[in-house]
Amino acid sequence: MDFTTDHFSLFELPPAFRIDAALLDGRYLEMQSRVHPDRFASAGEADRRLSLQWATRVNEAYQTLKNPLSRARYLLQLAAHDVGSENNAAMPADFLVEQMAWREAVAEARAAREHHELEHLHHRLQREIRERHDELAVLLDDRRDFEQAADRVRRLMFIEKLLIEIDDAMVACEE
């Protein structure tokens, strides 16, 4: 095995946003069982250490590719395209206004303990996330428009945070 390969090559998958999730899962389980430290319990120290490094490497690669947002970020990284997530001024004003409205709606529903409303927001957002993923597939795999893809990735970073907040609010309502 070669430590310098990228995550896709590691699992013998084409470097694309559209991914065969079942194939990824299968290859991951196969590799994990091959490099698992338990199998090297009686091996020499060098081999044990190497198996631990490999197990860590395989896990990290799997987590990165499994999650659509981190997969998109990784593809941009492979294309040497900076997502620019540290640049706070990079977001368009209309998007931020929309995000503010979402957060206000979540805060209001949470304060009023409106579980039903939170569920509604959750489903609406899930639908939006799916649409953004479809959009990313076109931008990354078909058009190879990394500029636009980076913009969609930045938006998704806000949207995923929002989803966590909605889910937190639902848990708070149930308590």
């Binding site: 540290e86 706070n88 977001m91 998007f95």
Partner: protein, 131 residues
């Protein structure tokens, strides 16, 4: 991670939370967001004669440090001219609130919010002067 006393104070008793009416005279808005943490911050300034900031309000959805940073800057910009407000640096905010290195980006967000609000004020001002 433990928050400093000053962060907790601003977090628990945030100053100047809210919004100005859209039609109020001299109101300018700065909207910023940090993709890295998903925080969203709105800072509004109410500018009077001579470009002096008379009042400021904020609304921030984010962590305690982001809320404290924006709360603090609403206090700091009051009484300053828009040009003086631009001199507020994130390092001053971080120092005042004793922010740990991982939370420095919250103070940068607050500085960016001031810049965005002042830019909005100048844009409206030029538009008015031209119109």
């Amino acid at each position: 991670m433990a928050y400093s006393v000053k962060v907790l104070d601003h977090y628990e008793n945030p100053r100047n939370v809210g919004s100005f009416g859209k039609e109020e005279e001299g109101v300018a808005t700065g909207m910023v967001g940090a993709p890295a943490c998903g925080d969203v911050m709105k800072l509004q300034i109410k500018v009077g004669r001579g470009g002096v900031i008379e009042d400021a309000k904020f609304k921030t959805y984010g962590c305690g440090s982001a809320i404290a940073s924006s709360s603090l800057v609403t206090e700091w910009v009051k009484g300053k001219t828009v040009e003086q407000a631009l001199d507020i640096k994130n390092t001053q905010i971080a120092e005042e609130l004793a922010l740990p290195p991982v939370k420095i980006h919250c103070s940068i967000l607050a500085e960016d919010a001031i810049k965005a609000a002042v830019a909005d004020y100048k844009k409206k001002h030029v538009d008015q002067a031209a119109g």
